[in-house]
Every structure is written in C-alpha cells, then in structure tokens.
C-alpha cells in the first residue's frame, strides 16, 4: 500500500461517503471501499483508467473536475479527495473552494517542490528538479504549477481555511523535522472554519 493511501485510509471513518477527484485507476477508492466500507465516487478523464475503475466495481464519472462539481449539493460527501492532482488543475483555488462546499472535509495531497533534492538540483545543477515525487521532464510533465508546503499553508491562512491535520512524507515514513526541506509529499485535511 502506498504510504499516502495508508494515511488517507486511516483518516476516513467507516462507511464514509467519498468523492475522489482525478481518481485515476481507482486504486485509492478500492482500498477505501475494502478497508473502510466507504461509498465511493470517482471523477476521471482518462478512458482506460476509467475502465479499470469499472472492472473493480467502482462508480466513476468521465468529467472535468473544474466544471464537474457545481451540481453536487452542499455537503454531499464526508470527504472530497484531491490527491496528487492539484498541481495539474488550472483553477486550483476554485476547485478547493468547491470541494469544501460539497464535502465536510477535503483531503489534499501534493508533491513538495521545496524538498531538499529539488532545491539541490535547481541550486547546484541549474536544472528543473526530477525525483520520486516529481518524476517528469519539463516537456512531458502534466504539472502546471509547483508549490511548496509553506506555500500551501500560506494559502489556507489567506483563504481562512482550517487545517485540521497535516502529514509530511519522506522516502521512508513521516517527516517531523523541517518538513518543507525533507518531505517529498504533503497531505492536509481541510475544513471550513
């Protein structure tokens, strides 16, 4: 099990209603259904990945997450998940606000651009960082924005979003010391104030 999936599976409660934005092949949703008896809905654009979801018995909508949330009534889900997708979204702020409207809580996971290896590559080698969390060359990356842990904390403060829980992940387990330097990935549980 991927460490970020393990953390999310620990966060959500038994029987939770979950919407996963950019659910990919449904690996996380399958896990949540299996271990937490969760009622799950995914939104994805890639047809092949969606077929895998349906083969695994998941409900998945083909759609754009930037326009696909508006019809959900307020507080439709216990958790809305944005895991490893926010860096690919054009209207990130809008999607996070919408997610907070339709979900009681929002789980956001993203690669930390200020990780030590990224800083070193940029500073010493003068090249765009490539590591486990940011594995793409500039000409093939789906990522359209790069952000750091502190960037995200600043954003939540500015937008008056409550950070209920935060987890920082390194290569082997959780990072507690200088996370913006040593964590490759971050997971935040957000709520409206």
């Amino acid at each position: 099990m991927k460490p970020d999936h393990q953390i999310i599976a620990d966060i959500v409660h038994e029987g939770a209603h979950i919407l996963d934005l950019g659910c990919g092949n449904g690996e996380l949703l399958s896990l949540l259904r299996q271990h937490k008896n969760a009622l799950v809905q995914g939104i994805e654009l890639d047809e092949d990945q969606m077929h895998t979801c349906v083969e695994n018995g998941l409900t998945v909508l083909q759609g754009d997450i930037e326009t696909g949330l508006e019809d959900y009534p307020n507080q439709s889900f216990d958790y809305v998940i944005l895991n490893q997708i926010m860096q690919e979204i054009k209207k990130a702020d809008f999607v996070i606000q919408e997610a907070l409207r339709i979900g009681h809580k929002v789980i956001v996971g993203f690669p930390n651009f200020a990780h030590l290896s990224a800083r070193t590559t940029l500073f010493l080698h003068g090249r765009t960082p490539i590591n486990e969390a940011l594995p793409y060359y500039w000409f093939e990356t789906p990522n359209i924005r790069f952000l750091t842990i502190w960037d995200f904390v600043d954003y939540c403060e500015k937008k008056n979003i409550t950070i209920e829980q935060k987890y920082f992940l390194g290569k082997s387990g959780l990072i507690h010391f200088l996370p913006n330097l040593f964590a490759q990935n971050a997971l935040f549980v957000l709520a409206r104030p």
Partner: protein, 372 residues
C-alpha cells in the same frame, strides 16, 4: 462471442386492460384491451431478483436476441444478449417487449379497433414514453416481478429507462440509459417533424386511413432515409461511402449515382416492408413529448439509491454527449452514485448498436456490482 447465441426463441403475448378496464393514457384518453408482444431469455431466479428489462429504440421490436424458428435473422441486440454476453442469460432473466403504438405484435395504430373491426389508424390515441412504460409495468406485474435489477436501452430505449426510474423509482435497482436524452431539443423535434411530414405528404398516406390500400411507401422510405442520415456521422459516412459511384461514371440523370444514394434508397424501401407508417408517426411524437428535465426527473426524491451507468458516444450528433451529461448533472443533484462514459466512436448514433466490445466491458462489470 458470436458462437454463444441463444437457441430458438419465441415471441409471447400478454393482454391487459380488458373490459371493463382500460389503460389510462397521459393524453387523458384511454385504450383497451392492450396487447404487448415480448420475449424473454434466461431464467427468472426463485427470488425473482435477476430480471433485466431491455427497451428498444424507434424501429425496434420484442425480438432482441436469438433466432425464430421460421426466420434466421438474429434479434436486434443479439451481440449483447446471450450466454456470456453483456446481458448474460446464464445469470439474468432478460425481457424485451414491443412498445405500445408499435407494429410488431403490440397494440398500435395498425391493430384492429374492437369497436369498428378495422385498423385504428388515426383513431388510435397519441401515446407518450410514460404510456409505453406504463404498459411495460403491466407486463412486469404479469411476470410477477416486483423489482427490476436493471432497465437498459439506447436512444428511445434509454428514454424509457429514464422514465422507469422517474415513474417507479422503487421498482428499479439500476438503469443504463445509452445515447439518449431527458428531452428532445428543437433540432431533434425538427428532424422528427420532417420525418412525419414526409409520410403525411405522400398522397398514399390518405390521412392515415391507408390500410386497405397499402403503405405510403415513398413517404415512409424518405422518412427512414432522413433517419439513417442522422444515425451516422460525417466520418462514418466518409469511411463507408466516400464519393464512390455505383457504376463507373456519372449518369447525368436523376438516378442514384453515388453509393450513399443507393444505400439510402435500399434502407428506405426495405423499411417499408417491415414497419407501419402510422407507428412511425406515433412513436416519433411520443419521443418529442418526453420531458424529464429538471424537477420531472425522479420527482419528490432528494437522494436516489438507483445506480446509473450513463453512456454516450463522442460522434453522436443526433443525441449529443451534452444531453447525457445533463442526465449526469441531475443525478449529482440527487446524490446518486453514477458511472458515466463518453465513449470514443466514429459511428455516430448507430454506435450503441455497433460498439459492442466497449459496451459489453462496461455493462458486464456494472451489473456484476449491483447487489440484488
């Protein structure tokens, strides 16, 4: 997959709304008695929980799968229904009936009016998709089935599936509306109106009372030709016909020089042999009247537990994807857990009858996860 066909199948009939009863129609009129032609494939389990209702499109009939003893033409969705197929007859009890207003064994304008002893013709009341579903509900009652595992159909069949979930949300566990819409757009109504006008403009239509004289062949053929143009896509027509000539050179006469013209004529005039012109009028009108948009869709229910698999095809311009996406939007408002695919296909509206592999893959897995 083609080898796994059903054996010989039989069309059966059920009659209801016999005097003193009648079937109350949405128009305010009523009709009776009503006969529905239907076929079933597979076995109903003892709990009666494995029934799937297949609803046919505009020109379809009850013969959805297998072959008849005296006619080796397989049913219209034979690729999808049978052992091991999308609607696996080893697991499910599959039902398909001809709609009321049709001409393939169910009561319609070409049926004998018991009051006159002659075909109803235009004395037949206008029917709606809701009336079709009401008639199907009588059949489902007759078969002793309380809850359908699934209602599935493409095009007008999808409209019936949507109507089922709205009229009888408690009797449907899941629905698969394919290449369909909650309501016809003005463009769709316009095509249907041109189709109706081409029938009614044929002097042989005789204001609908043509049964003693034969069908309005030319009008009905042109109507069907219009239909066939709307069922294909620009790309599928290019691939199928391009500008290929039937003979090697242009005739410089008003004949069918191009293969596409020959195809339309063949399809049009073949259709006259198997379909009643008045049924075409009644059924297209029923489609135009449907409006399940907004609050009309699964009314009075805030959260629905019916599972939906909604499918559209990217090249379908008759029932464009945005109409399926409108269904999905309403389902989101109902907190429904929904699967939606906008499948890649070049076949236009016909895709729902052609893209068997993709549909099979989706429908099989979807049905396997409906608890019943």
């Amino acid at each position: 997959m083609k080898n796994n066909s059903l054996d010989i199948v039989h069309t059966q009939y059920v009659t209801f709304a016999e005097p003193p009863d009648t079937l109350q129609l949405k128009s305010g009129r009523s009709i009776g008695p009503v006969t529905l032609a239907y076929e079933t494939y597979g076995k109903l389990n003892p709990a009666k929980s494995n029934a799937i209702l297949v609803c046919h499109a505009l020109s379809g009939d009850a013969h959805a799968a297998g072959i008849h003893k005296d006619d080796k033409t397989p049913g219209w969705w034979d690729d999808m229904i049978g052992p091991g197929k999308a609607l696996d007859t080893r697991l499910y009890f599959v039902i398909c009936s001809n709609v009321i207003g049709g001409c393939k064994g169910s009561t319609g304008p070409s049926s004998i009016n018991p009051e006159t002893g002659k075909p109803y013709a235009l004395d037949f009341p206008l029917i709606t998709i809701a009336d079709m579903v009401e008639a199907e509900r009588h059949l489902i009652d007759h078969l002793g089935i309380e809850k359908l595992l699934c209602v599935i159909g493409g095009s007008m069949g999808g409209m019936q599936a949507l109507q089922w979930t709205s009229a009888y949300p408690g009797r449907v566990l899941s629905a698969i509306p394919i290449a369909t819409a909650l309501k016809h757009s003005p463009q769709q109504i316009a095509f249907n109106e041109v189709i109706r006008q081409s029938i009614m403009a044929d002097p042989a239509w005789r204001k609908g009372y043509y049964y003693e004289h034969g069908q309005p062949e030319n009008g009905l053929a042109v109507a069907r030709m219009i239909g066939h143009i709307t069922f294909m896509s620009d790309q599928s027509m290019e691939e199928k016909f391009s500008r290929k000539l039937k003979n090697d050179n242009l005739s410089f006469q008003f004949v069918d020089d191009f293969e596409v013209e020959g195809y339309l004529r063949y399809r049009g005039y073949n259709f006259v042999k198997r379909f009643d012109a008045n049924s075409y009028l009644y059924i297209t009108k029923a489609m135009d009247y449907l409006d399940l948009s907004g609050e009309n869709f699964i009314p009075d229910i805030k959260k629905t537990t019916i599972r939906f698999l909604v499918i559209s095809f990217k090249s379908d311009w008759l029932y464009p994807s945005h109409q399926s996406q409108e269904i999905v939007r309403l389902l989101k408002r109902k907190h429904a857990y929904t699967t939606y695919f906008d499948l890649i296909s070049t076949y236009g509206h016909d895709a729902f009858l052609i893209e068997i592999d993709d549909e099979t893959r989706l429908i099989k897995n979807f049905l396997a996860n409906i608890e019943h």
